[in-house]
Amino acid sequence: MTVGPDNYVALSAVLFLIGVVGVIARRNPLIMLMSIELLFNAANLALVAYARSWVMNTGHIFVFLVITVAAAEAAIGLAIVAVTFRRSQHVDVDEVSALRG
């Protein structure tokens, strides 16, 4: 059996599933951020697979932009985690309500 784009997209969906479970079920903000990175990576894998499928590098450009935005997101998210921990010593997102509107 040959490996086609569908295999890659299915794998991407499975990885996305695992990441969604991590974001929803875990309450540690660091692990939630890492699960968000898993989501980014799953989307990137699908983009690269489709780019390879059509032999167009537009998908590669998209992945490049996603990686950049993911870096910015990780930096800001970790800064928020650090400040939150400095203020309240809590690392459970359910206990943090300072950002509630």
Binding site: V9, N28, N41, I76
Partner: protein, 198 residues
């Protein structure tokens, strides 16, 4: 082809380990394995430049940032760990929701028009200058067709840097006094906990 299945196994296993690990440090290790396997997966898709970028940016920069923050937060008297999550009940709805997401993604993917087999790449063999996925090919597309998104990316990074400095910096933007001292002058800031400085 055998590489795909091995890498897929590594990817899924490391992702599961990342999500289910007790301590964040273990998650970082799982995530590192995941990123490296994904870079190898990019190589099987002839995205050579993206594989390098994946290693350099994700494994080299973002993961180091995670490790650094974990080390920073656990440098105080209290060890930085949460232990078991307080609401494991939510795991069941989370799995249900995730399976629904997977079903939606699968249906969407099956209705998307794709080539069944990977088409042979054009522009020469892999590794040649100008071949699909090579640095020359990528750079040409990035700096000609997609120049504006590239510039916007630079702007986003600048905004992120400024935002991080404003959020986590010690000095308030208005006056020159550290916000911690201001709070303590007010009322009931519990003593302590300068774990970040110590």
């Amino acid at each position: 082809m055998i590489a795909f299945w091995i890498l897929a196994l590594v990817l899924i296993a490391s992702a599961v380990f990342t999500v289910t690990a007790v301590k964040p440090v273990y998650s970082v290790v799982g995530l590192l394995l995941n990123f490296i396997a994904l870079a190898a997966m990019y190589l099987t898709l002839q995205a050579e430049f993206l594989a390098v970028i994946q290693i350099v940016v994700y494994s080299g920069a973002i993961l180091i940032l995670f490790v650094f923050v974990i080390a920073l937060l656990s440098s105080g008297t209290r060890p930085f760990e949460v232990g078991p999550d307080k609401a494991p009940r939510i795991a069941i709805p989370a799995v249900i929701l995730a399976v629904l997401t997977l079903a939606g993604l699968t249906v969407t993917a099956l209705h998307t028009h794709t080539a069944v087999v990977l088409a042979p790449s054009t522009g020469g063999a892999a590794g040649d200058a100008g071949a699909f996925g090579s640095i020359a090919n990528f750079g040409t597309a990035l700096f000609t067709t997609n120049l504006l998104p590239f510039e916007v990316t630079a702007f986003i990074l600048m905004v992120a840097v400024i935002g991080v400095v404003l959020i986590a910096g010690d000095v308030a933007p208005g006056d020159g006094t550290p916000p911690r001292r201001k709070r303590r002058a007010g009322t009931r800031e519990p003593i302590v906990k300068d774990t970040l400085v110590r």
